[in-house]
C-alpha cells in the first residue's frame, strides 16, 4: 500500500553535492523542499572522526562509505556483442551513497573546463576539419552553454568551498604562477594555493625545465581556515593523506557536510528523509508533467510524495536509470541512432608514470586529495593536434594524495607481485617513489551508452542499468600521447628509473580508475540532440530537472565536480528568476 504524503514544492532525489546546492537555493526562495536519500545520515564526528578516519582497509577496500552493491548494482559490457553481467564488486569507479555521497569521499579536485571544452564539436571542426569530430564513430557535440555563461557559477562554487589555488587568468590578464590556459576568472581563489611537498615540487621544476607551465592544483583541501558565504567554517588541511575514498575528520575538505548542510539543515522549510529510495517518477497520462515520486524506505513502507518540481540529484547512473524506469523520454538505440536517454555515456581516460629515486625521501604519506603540481599544456585544445589522430587531452599532475600502503605501493618494472622480491622492492621504494597521473578526456562514441538490462533485476524487481562502454582509438591515442609527455617530465626529474602504466586494451571494471562517469542525460540546444536544455530541464517533462555529470555531452580532461556544481547553480539561478514565475519550458524546443 502506498501512502500519499502532503505535497511539496520540490522533491530532491538524492542528497549529495547537487542536491545540497539545489536544496539550499530553492529553500532560500521560500520553497518547501523534501530530499530523499537512499543511504543514511552522515556527519563528521560520527562517521569519519580524526580518531579513526585514516583506515585504508575499511574505507578503501571494504567500501564502508560506498554504495553497497549487494542488493543493487548495474550490468557492464564492452560492446553490444557481449552479454552484460553484473558489476559484482566495486572497482573501476566507487559509487557514493548516503548524505553527501561522493562529495564526502572525493579528493576535492576543483576544476573549470576550458572555454573550448564547451564547443567540442564546432571548435575542433573549425580547427582540424569535419572528420576530426566523426572519426572512430565519435558523437561529440557542443554543450549549448558557454564558459562565459557558467563563469559566475564556477566562482560561486569556489566561494562555497573556499577553493585554494593561484589564478592563472584574472579577467583576461595572465597571472604568474597560475594556469595560463584557463578561462578568465572573475576573481582570485578564495584561499591561497597549498604549499607543495617534495615530489610535486620536483615535478614542477622538471616540467618548467621542459618549457611547460606548472601550477598548483586547485583544491578543496583548504590551505587555511575559511568561512563561506553560508557561514560554514572550514579548517586548514593537516595533510594526513586520507581524502579520496575517505571522509575528512578535520573539516578541511569541502563537502556538503562542511559547506552547505549546517545552513540548509537549519531551514524550517527543508526536510531530509534518509534510507528512502525513489522507485519512480510519476507522470501524468500524457507524460508531459511529473506529479511527484514514489519511494520506499528501509522499513519497507511505500510513499507517494507529490511535488511541483522533481529534481533528479542522484548520481549520473541513477538519474538515467530513473528516467528509463519512469518512461521519461525515448531510450537511445545505438543501431538506429534514435532516442536520447542513455546516449553519449562517457568516462575518463587515465594513465600514470611511476618515478623511483635512490637519493630522495619523498614521504608520500604527507598528502592531500588535490596536492599536486600540474601542467595543462596538453589538455583540451591547448596544443596543436594536427597529425596526431585524436581530439581531446588531459592534465598531467605530479600528485601525492597520500601514501596508503595497500593501494599505493609502487614497485619497479618487472617486479613480481609477491614473494621476497616484492617485499624487498616495497621496503626499498615506498618512501622514494610516487606517481605522475595523466587525467584525460573521454569523447562520446556511437556504441557507448546506458540502457536497462534485460536479465538482471534489483531487490525491488526493477531492471538494473546496463552500461555498454569501451575506450575508442581516439582515447587510446590521446592517452598514449599524454603518457609519453608524462614520461618526459619523469625522466627530467633524474630518477633511478620510471615505470609507464599505459591505458591499454578494453575498459576493465577491476582496477580503480575514476568515479567520473558522464553522459546519458546530456544537454544540448534542441530535443533532437539532448535530454535536457542548458538549464538541466528535461525537454520532455519540463517540471523535472536532471542535475549532475549526466548532462556532459562528452567528458573533458578535468575532474567533473566543479562543472557539475556550476551547472547546478546556473540552473538554480534561472529556476529562481524565470521558472518559479512562469513554470514551463525555459527554452522553446
Amino acid at each position: 500500500m502506498t501512502t500519499t504524503l502532503p505535497p511539496v514544492d520540490a522533491v530532491l532525489v538524492g542528497f549529495g553535492w547537487t542536491g545540497a546546492i539545489m536544496g539550499q537555493q530553492l529553500c532560500d526562495e521560500g520553497l518547501s523542499v523534501v530530499a530523499l536519500e537512499r543511504g543514511a545520515w552522515r556527519d563528521t564526528p560520527t562517521d569519519f572522526a580524526t580518531t579513526f578516519a585514516q583506515d585504508e582497509l575499511r574505507y578503501m577496500w571494504r567500501h564502508h562509505l560506498f554504495q553497497n552493491v549487494s542488493d543493487d548494482t548495474l550490468t557492464i559490457r564492452n560492446n553490444t556483442s557481449q552479454q552484460a553481467l553484473p558489476m559484482r564488486h566495486l572497482g573501476s569507479f566507487l559509487l557514493g551513497t548516503g548524505v553527501g555521497s561522493g562529495g564526502v569521499h572525493w579528493n576535492g579536485q576543483i576544476w573549470r573546463f576550458l572555454p573550448s571544452d564547451f564547443l567540442t564539436k564546432s571548435h575542433n571542426q573549425q580547427r582540424y576539419g569535419a572528420k576530426s569530430v566523426t572519426d572512430y564513430d565519435l558523437t561529440v557535440q557542443d554543450w549549448g552553454v558557454t564558459y562565459d555563461e557558467l563563469e559566475p557559477f564556477y566562482d560561486q562554487f569556489d566561494k562555497l568551498c573556499g577553493t585554494s589555488g593561484t589564478a592563472g587568468n584574472l579577467k583576461g590578464q595572465i597571472q604568474p604562477g597560475g594556469n595560463p590556459f584557463e578561462g578568465p576568472r572573475s576573481s582570485e581563489y578564495p584561499t591561497p594555493a597549498m604549499p607543495q611537498t617534495y615530489a610535486p615540487t620536483l615535478f614542477g621544476v622538471a616540467a618548467a625545465g621542459l618549457g611547460h607551465h606548472p601550477f598548483p592544483h586547485p583544491t578543496g583541501n583548504l590551505s587555511e581556515a575559511y568561512t563561506n558565504p553560508l557561514g560554514a567554517q572550514l579548517g586548514a588541511c593537516t595533510y594526513c593523506g586520507f581524502c579520496e575514498k575517505f571522509g575528512c575528520g578535520n573539516y578541511s575538505k569541502a563537502s556538503p557536510q562542511t559547506t552547505v548542510l549546517p545552513y540548509l539543515m537549519a531551514k524550517p522549510n527543508f526536510t531530509l528523509k534518509t534510507e528512502s529510495e525513489v522507485l519512480k517518477v510519476e507522470l501524468t497520462p500524457d507524460r508531459k508533467r511529473a506529479t511527484g515520486v514514489t519511494y520506499v524506505n528501509s522499513a519497507g513502507e511505500e510513499f507517494f510524495q507529490p511535488a511541483e518540481m522533481v529534481i533528479l540529484s542522484a548520481y549520473v547512473l541513477h538519474n538515467v536509470r530513473l528516467m528509463l524506469l519512469s518512461g521519461i523520454g525515448q531510450p537511445y538505440d545505438p543501431n538506429a541512432g534514435t532516442g536520447q536517454v542513455g546516449r553519449n555515456y562517457a568516462y575518463q581516460t587515465t594513465s600514470s608514470v611511476n618515478v623511483f629515486f635512490d637519493d630522495k625521501i619523498l614521504n608520500p604519506f604527507i598528502g592531500a586529495g588535490a596536492l599536486a603540481t600540474v601542467i595543462d599544456d596538453f589538455n583540451g585544445d591547448n596544443f596543436d593536434h594536427t597529425g596526431l589522430g585524436f581530439i581531446g587531452g588531459g592534465y598531467i599532475a605530479g600528485m601525492v594524495t597520500g601514501g596508503r600502503p595497500i593501494e599505493m605501493m609502487y614497485t619497479p618494472q618487472g617486479t613480481p607481485a609477491w614473494g621476497l622480491e616484492w617485499k624487498h622492492a616495497a621496503a626499498k621504494n615506498y618512501l622514494k617513489s610516487f606517481a605522475i597521473a595523466t587525467h584525460g578526456s573521454c569523447m562520446s562514441h556511437r556504441g557507448n551508452y546506458l540502457d536497462l538490462d534485460p536479465t538482471y533485476r534489483d531487490t525491488f524487481g526493477r531492471p538494473m542499468l546496463r552500461m555498454t562502454f569501451d575506450f575508442t582509438d581516439n582515447e587510446h591515442k590521446m592517452s598514449d600521447y599524454l603518457t609519453d609527455r608524462a614520461a618526459e617530465v619523469a625522466r627530467a626529474m633524474n630518477p633511478r628509473e620510471i615505470k609507464l602504466n599505459r591505458r591499454t586494451g578494453s575498459w576493465n571494471v577491476i582496477p580503480y580508475q575514476t568515479t567520473h562517469n558522464t553522459g546519458g542525460a546530456i544537454m544540448g540546444d534542441n530535443p533532437g540532440n539532448s535530454v535536457v536544455n542548458k538549464y538541466l530541464q528535461l525537454w520532455d517533462v519540463p517540471n523535472v530537472f536532471s542535475l549532475g555529470a549526466g548532462a556532459f555531452p562528452q567528458n573533458a580532461g578535468y575532474n567533473p565536480t566543479g562543472t557539475v556544481a556550476a551547472l547546478t547553480y546556473h540552473a538554480a539561478a534561472t529556476i529562481k528568476s524565470q521558472y518559479l514565475k512562469t513554470p514551463g519550458p525555459l527554452v522553446q524546443a
Binding site: 511539496v8 526562495e29 572497482g91 607543495q196 611537498t197 507529490p306 616495497a426
Partner: protein
C-alpha cells in the same frame, strides 16, 4: 492533483512537512551496511553522543573460520606470498592468517558489498568478479580444490607439506590460470583475492589482527594513522622520525597495547 502554481509560503502555514519532524535517534547501523532505519531530519544538523562509527576490530586469538587443514594451507601459502627475512616480517610473522580468519568469519567473508545473484555466466576478464561464491565460500572451495590438485600431482601430499619451490610453482600456476581447479573455482580469481587479502592483512591497521607490532609499517617507513603533517610539508627530503601509530596507539604511550 497538485496545481501548477507555487505557494512560496506553504511551509509557513504548516502544510508540507509531516508532524513527525525532528531529529530522530541516531542509527544503530551505519551506511555501507544495509538495514539502517529510515529517518526524517528537519530544523538542525543531528548529532548524538556515543554513536561514533568506530572500526570493527578483531578480537580473540583462536581461529574461528579456518579448519585445521585450511589453516595449514593458508599459513603455508601466505608465507610464500610474503616470506620472512631480516628485511621485514613475513605474512605469517605479521599475523596475516589470523587477519584472514577474522575477515572471512565476518561481513567481508559473507559477501557484504558483493552482488552474488544469478545467473552466473563466466564473463570476460574485463567484467571482473563473476563467481557465485562469497569470499568465505570461495576460500573454502578453493583450498579444498587446491589440496585435491596437489594431492593428485604430488603423490598425495598436502600443499603445506611441499617444498617451498613446489609451493611457489603451484602458486604461480594459480596466478596464471595454468592450473585448472575443480569445484567451480576459477584459480586466477582465487589467487587474486588471496594475494590482495594477504597484502591487506600485512599493511592495514593492527586493529584488524594483522600487521603485528606494525612491523610492515616499520619496514616501509609509513607512520600509520598519523593525523597532522603540517610542519613537515616544506621540509623536503627529511626523514619523518615518528614511529608508526595505530588506532590503539603505540606501545611507547599506551602501556603495551598495540
Amino acid at each position: 492533483m497538485v496545481k501548477l502554481t507555487f505557494n512560496r509560503r506553504r511551509f509557513l502555514v504548516g502544510g508540507t512537512v509531516a508532524g513527525t519532524a525532528g531529529v530522530a535517534a541516531a542509527a544503530s547501523l551505519h551506511d555501507g551496511e544495509l538495514g539502517a532505519p529510515p529517518q526524517t531530519f528537519t530544523g538542525a544538523v543531528p548529532w548524538q553522543e556515543g554513536t561514533a562509527d568506530a572500526p570493527p576490530g578483531a578480537s580473540g586469538t583462536d581461529f574461528i573460520f579456518f579448519t585445521t587443514t585450511e589453516r595449514a594451507f593458508i599459513e603455508a601459502a601466505v608465507g610464500r606470498l610474503i616470506p620472512n627475512d631480516p628485511v621485514g616480517p613475513g605474512a605469517v610473522e605479521a599475523n596475516v592468517p589470523f587477519f584472514l580468519d577474522r575477515q572471512l568469519a565476518g561481513l567481508y567473508g559473507q559477501g557484504q558489498h558483493y552482488y552474488l545473484g544469478g545467473p552466473w555466466p563466466k564473463g570476460t576478464p574485463e567484467q571482473g568478479y563473476q563467481s557465485r561464491f562469497s569470499p568465505a565460500q570461495l576460500y573454502r572451495a578453493a583450498i579444498a580444490a587446491i589440496d585435491r590438485y596437489v594431492g593428485s600431482t604430488f603423490n598425495g601430499a598436502a600443499f603445506s607439506g611441499l617444498a617451498a619451490a613446489d609451493q611457489d610453482k603451484v602458486l604461480k600456476g594459480l596466478e596464471s590460470g595454468a592450473i585448472v581447479l575443480d569445484g567451480g573455482v576459477d584459480s586466477k580469481t582465487f589467487f587474486a583475492m588471496l594475494l590482495q587479502n594477504t597484502k591487506e592483512g600485512y599493511l592495514s591497521d593492527p586493529i584488524y589482527g594483522g600487521n603485528k607490532d606494525m612491523g610492515a609499517w616499520k619496514m616501509i617507513g609509513f607512520p600509520g594513522a598519523h593525523y597532522d603533517y603540517k610542519e613537515w610539508v616544506s621540509r623536503h627530503g627529511e626523514r619523518v622520525p615518528f614511529p608508526p601509530v595505530g588506532f590503539k596507539g603505540r606501545p611507547g604511550w599506551t602501556g603495551g597495547l598495540r
